[in-house]
Symmetry: D3
């Protein structure tokens, strides 16, 4: 059972802010700091999508990376690129746009599509800045 | 005359959009594409500030990088970080926030301050994405 | 039981193509796209080799990285560097040179050698481009 | 149970040497090579601290990254930055400063502090050079 | 005269070899070493194209980066990507494919096209590996 | 006159401190801050050596990068790697080891050797951290 993990990197540039409407302005500023700026800020986000499977005996592929790239672009990054995560993205509607919440929302979109393709989404990694990133395994706790 | 060039890297994360109010919405979308999204987008900008001079015989420094970093942060990056370049930054007021225009505006702020310190601003480099960056030498044309 | 994971990075530059001789030219082009170019293409491959173990009380080492680097170079990267993966590498003979298949072949070479040294090969990562990489845990499924 | 893993990157620049006082000079040089230079050498170390948890429903955070950064700086990197790991760091006193041993010592400091905060330290990664890094999961063996 | 320099990064993955047909096999191996392997090797090449000009008062652009990217792809990188530089590229026909010669050939293609667009090609940088790159200013000697 | 600039990257890891013996301890700490730590600190230095010339009609080379790499290693980086810049390096004896002074000292070593080879040293770049680097053109002021 030679399970191999393949990863495709895609990028998107977006605006957002962290703002909890149930909280006072003071609490928003205290918790979120500069990220609460009402006029938004933004990032060059980098998304890594990892799919696991056994390489096909004929193609040598776990999954065709052209297909994986096309799925990520169509379903996720083209909906996020040059967008405002709080205002422009139906699948993030009503969600506090922390990277933690964004990565869970991306998983919920990609997991069934990749499963329907016959492969398994194993991991997502979403990089917000060179100093901050999040990882998600669909709720699993590998470590 | 052993002129050496020293560079300090600083970063800021900001939102902006490209929108020319003298143009129709169609022309804005045609020229600026996704960058014209009315709800903004954003980037992790990286700014490189290069100062030239002859190393001091005692300190071995062209300019103390602690001082250079403090100047860049106070005068530039703290005014841009987690801001909206179109709405929140007095020194960009009324300016189309292309990276070309932003780098010229940063030069105009930093050049006299670094000259007053006794050194010479030689070059700025502003990186918008891993695929796009601009450089400025105060109008000089080294190549 | 303080198991620590140490990783050594090595590189090799090689040519290859993806071509399944059991398929028609049309199917090869459809599945492999530009990677099926008969005259080859190539990459700067980056290989990360991760070994796990308990640090030796005297040396503080899981495994001497000089030794690990020497093993990887002798057994793997010097056999791949500036080579054609399809034509020049005995341990890839008859194998479709997808990164999935190449990483499994590298595991089969390194695992017994590192075990004989008294350590344990835990993970391989093979980077083909900045956008594509594969990982392999010897068939284990950590996530 | 949507466990998400968040990572903060911090850096420190330090001197050290590898030298086992129980060994002869010959054995030190044989095992540690250039790393045994009596007059020290140094590195730009990069530390990645990964914390796992379920995002808070209101903030969307596993842990506030401002707090995580402040803890790492106060407890670890400010004690290591521009220091000699063998001479200047109480929590490394008497420890062979291999990256394996340093990462375990950092875990022992950070784990209880992050637990007291209500989150869980899941992983550390310590990069010594572009070619060498170590990872530690508190003794767990995820793969 | 606020001349600004803008740069676009594009990539291509290609095979090549260094082989001088006027030389003996011995001399080819002596001069080119592993790069003379008859069965080819390859690289992930990165091309940086720098254009200089004065930002347009209305758009703020020296040149629209969408257009610059489209020109580079159409005229250069799509002709090189997943190709054999020695066999598949008309504009490199009969040329020793050292990076020095390749960068001059790319300049000769791009310079007139960018001039016709109304901008000026100022610099090319071609990265072959993380350790080797070449730069070209159209024959100018800025330093 | 098709002058091309080729660059080779080499690395070295070293300890140093900034300390001016003509100054009081207070002034040393004030000017150099953490860099004045008596017990040293260290960095992963990266050196880029740029040579200019006209590609040879037969080899296509400005200079054989194998030779350039061998010269840099023999004359510079092997004398600096895993050393203390203040104590172990004859060509830095008595020199305040700021990156400005170190890059000038490296130029003085490499320039005549590369000239004797028939090429021209055009530029050095010495990176101390991801945030700080220096460049030197032999005293020339290209910008």
């Amino acid at each position: 059972m030679n399970k191999v993990y393949i990863t495709r990197r895609e990028t998107f540039n977006a605006a957002h802010k962290l703002w909890q409407p149930n909280w006072s302005e003071e609490k928003n500023n205290e918790v979120f700091g500069r990220c609460a700026n009402k006029n938004w800020h933004g990032h060059n986000f980098v998304l890594y999508v990892t799919v696991s499977g056994i390489p096909d005996p004929e193609s040598g592929f776990v999954m065709n990376l052209k297909d994986l790239s096309a799925i990520i672009k169509k379903e996720v990054t083209e909906k996020l690129d040059h967008k405002n995560l709080n205002l422009d993205v139906p699948f993030l509607d009503g969600i506090m746009t922390s990277t933690e919440n964004v990565i869970i929302a991306i998983w919920q979109i990609l997991e069934p599509i990749i499963a329907a393709y016959g492969a398994a989404l194993a991991k997502l990694k979403l990089v917000e800045t060179e100093n901050n990133f999040v990882e998600y395994f669909g709720g699993k706790e590998p470590f």
